[in-house]
């Protein structure tokens, strides 16, 4: 799969998240914020951020499941 296709697929998966989950993911993944920092920015508790990021990553996992399986198969073939 081309990189451009993968980018589009990941962007679509990110778009399936609700706004709060997307913000938490962006802050954690791209801004390198830990849970306490995200909690401060979003006005949540650390426990709420933990739960928010868990649901967000689970949703991303489900959205990208097929591509992850493809990646695993490709890795096993090598």
């Amino acid at each position: 799969m081309q990189k451009q296709e993968l980018t589009a697929v990941v962007q679509q998966a990110l778009d399936t998240l609700n706004e709060r989950q997307r913000i938490a993911v962006v802050l954690n993944k791209f801004e390198d914020m830990n849970y306490a920092e995200i909690a401060e920015v979003m006005g949540l508790t650390t426990k709420a951020v933990k739960s928010l990021l868990s649901r967000a990553r689970e949703n991303l996992r489900l959205a990208l499941q097929d591509y992850i399986q493809m990646d695993k198969r490709a890795t096993n073939r090598r």
Partner: protein, 161 residues
């Protein structure tokens, strides 16, 4: 046991483990679980791969007019005059009264000085000055002085008018 059998707390612990957010005790508990539970290990791998796939997203780069638009927004929204320019302290009422009194005193004093300087009586000047300034009305006003001068002249030349 399947991956779906993991409850929300288990998944949250796995995610927090991947993010390095667990304390030592919780970390050991997760490591024990993934060592003994293939489904938990599979879930952990899937979550890790999912997170890694986000690296395919392009890094956000600002548009060419980003700076201009940001500065415009800052000017319009984030920099009201009340924040950028300090408000002057309110002037106490007594200071306003004192200022007005000073203005009135200056006006009265200045007026008095001007009137005495520009419209002084001829007596303050010498004769030449008086003559220079004299008019017909001045002569009438100072008739006594002219009369004295006439008497002196009569005595000097022996002439009677």
């Amino acid at each position: 046991m399947t991956a779906m059998a993991l409850n929300e707390d288990d998944k949250a612990e796995l995610v927090a483990y991947l993010d390095g957010e667990l304390d030592e005790v919780a970390t050991q508990a997760v490591e024990a679980k993934i060592a003994s539970d293939p489904d938990a290990r599979a879930e952990l791998d899937a979550l890790r791969l999912t997170w890694g796939m986000l690296d395919f997203l392009p890094k956000a780069s600002p548009s060419p007019n980003f700076t201009n638009r940001t500065m415009e927004r800052l000017t319009l929204e984030d920099m009201p005059a009340s924040k950028t320019m300090p408000m002057p302290k309110p002037v106490p009422g007594w200071m306003i009264g004192v200022s007005w009194a000073a203005v009135v005193l200056l006006a009265v004093g200045g007026g008095y000085w001007a009137s005495t300087y520009f419209w002084s009586s001829p007596e303050q000047y010498g004769c030449s000055s008086m003559r220079a300034k004299s008019t017909s009305s001045d002569v009438l006003v100072h008739l006594a002085i002219f009369s004295d001068a006439q008497v002196l002249h009569q005595r000097h030349v022996g002439v009677r008018y």
